[in-house]
Symmetry: C2
Subunit: 344 residues, 2 copies
């Protein structure tokens, strides 16, 4: 796939601002990223949005019928609506007509559809959602997984997350020897709940990883770790908290900075600098989550995604395709699988 | 206790900056808060610090020998060193010579000492550490518990945390009808890990609580909830993350604001406003954690506490004493205990 253009199937109907913002992000991605976007959904609605953009770009539209609604139970929804946009998008990957899927729709449904239609990579028990966050060090980011796919985990699942995260960090994020950490409540190996204690042992013994120990909450954004593993419950709480905190900080700045005449003048002078701060803090700049462990590349975006997030999610998908992340995980996993399965 | 001065036993030897910063905070508290502070520790060292402050205040010094070191296993340390400062401080409460304990030392040791020497309130299986965080709404705070005492929890523990947090929010924080939430990964009652799903049912059925449902990570600081319960693993990760994020934001501001001449001028004009932002974000302003469920009032402060944090921790202790939080929990708990114990 390396030399040809990555083909990205975008679920045009999924998300709070679908199809308008999704199509807008897709158009920009096709124009700027050198990818081929396939828009999956209701052709009428998609064409109507395309018309508004008055573009000469020709995006292929793949017809689909309906979506899985947010209140629907994922698995039964996926089964009841085989022609829903998320299912049709996954089928494109299954059939080799696309290299990756991007969806801002029901994340549980996207996961269920990926599992049912693409299956798991051999040796992986549970796929995980990984997300990349900026750190204090402007040049470093951190990959956290799982942020929501698996709420109850066993130690070997977390070890698998570490192996997949390690590959992703190395080959997609370009980190030479990723420093892997276990999210925990203390630095010492004796700290933690039952899951953390048992996972620590597995990670310590896994020779394919550079495991540097426990990462406390305060270490997550420190830049000391390249990959941090945790169960999907803790990871999801942490991620949503992190996103909200960014917004809260920006709001406090908006409230407090322009107070008084000195404040108003100062804030005016600082406009460009404040814009840079917003960029460093704002989560929308950082794309979506990657579903690692299924046999296909899937980017799960925020339901609230607007065009810039959709654009970034498509870029993320392209990077995963260009760096052969699936093959890397497959082969890396085969190498260490014997060791990993002996552990538990 | 209401009308007489609260007597607070302060572990003068516990913490990274003990005894210097501890004694400094204690002196200020005694001067400003109308409390009587008992300094527990090595008399020589405490007197040396007092001398530096050149004060006319007479703080009682209660001699103790040694501390539980950070690397020591809490329970065995507590047992091996009966005269350690944390033990002597707890004994003062046990003997009725003090109303509360404040310590910035080994938090596990403080918990173990409280459990062994003061015991649990009848009906409470596990004490929890509660901490109060500021929210987006400048007039509202949120009490989160547990933030580290219990890494593996059962549903009824979390229900007990909710009952204790409810009492604390009502009587100490002055919230009329505290809105209680369960930290979870989605709004719907069907979301969550096994612990969350089972806890949801208990909270929903508990008629002594105003349970308003699940709180996602993004809701924690929204101001919508007065009390949020979670297991001590998630709570600890979240708290340490929240503390670090505040510092990170302040650092980004320091890095980005003064760039360029406009930036330097603007930042100069904004100095007073930036100070107010620091106050809203900085955790040191918000005191320590309260150990709820033991039969005595104990404030567990950060190991890195300096004088302002120690002062705030003593104020927190005074408030808990003045509002009879122990008696409130005891009686409230007796009332609902019958209902609570039926659930599991």
């Amino acid at each position: 796939m390396g030399s040809t253009q990555a083909r990205i199937a975008v679920d045009a109907m999924g998300g709070d601002f679908a199809p308008g913002e999704i199509v807008a992000g897709a158009l920009r991605a096709q124009a700027e990223l050198g990818v081929e976007v396939l828009l999956v959904g209701d052709p009428e609605q998609i064409k109507a949005v395309m018309k508004q953009h008055n573009t000469s770009l020709q995006l292929e539209i793949v017809p689909a019928e309906g979506i899985i609604e947010m209140h629907e139970e994922p698995l039964s929804g996926i089964r009841r609506k085989p022609k829903a946009s998320i299912n049709v998008a996954m089928d494109l990957v299954k059939q080799g007509r696309a290299d990756a899927v991007v969806s801002a729709g029901h994340s549980g449904a996207a996961m269920a559809s990926a599992l049912l239609r693409l299956g798991r990579i051999k040796g992986i028990d549970r796929p995980a959602i990984g997300t990349v966050l900026p750190t204090m060090d402007a040049n470093k980011s951190v990959l956290i997984l799982d942020v929501g796919a698996n709420v109850d985990c066993r130690p070997k699942f977390l070890e698998q997350f570490a192996v997949m995260g390690n590959v992703y960090s190395q080959y997609v994020l370009g980190v030479d020897q990723p420093k892997v950490g276990l999210l925990n409540i203390g630095e010492e190996s004796s700290k933690g709940n039952d899951l953390a204690l048992r996972t620590y042992e597995l990670l310590e013994q896994n020779s394919s990883l550079t495991f540097i120990g426990n990462a406390e909450g305060r270490d997550v954004l420190s830049g000391r770790f390249d990959v941090i593993v945790c169960d999907g419950f803790v990871g999801n709480v942490l991620l949503k908290f992190a996103e909200a905190v960014g917004e809260i900080l920006l709001q406090i700045l908006r409230e407090e900075l322009p107070r008084g005449w000195r404040g108003r003048l100062g804030a005016m002078l600082l406009k460009p600098n404040l814009r840079r701060i917003k960029q460093r803090v704002d989560h929308a700049e950082h794309g979506g989550g990657l579903l690692l462990g299924v046999d296909g590349i899937c980017i799960i975006s925020h339901g609230s995604s607007q065009a810039p997030s959709v654009f970034n999610a498509i870029r993320l998908a392209k990077e995963a395709v260009d760096h052969d992340v699936l093959d890397r995980i497959r082969s890396q996993y085969q190498k260490i699988q014997a060791a990993a399965t002996n552990e538990e």
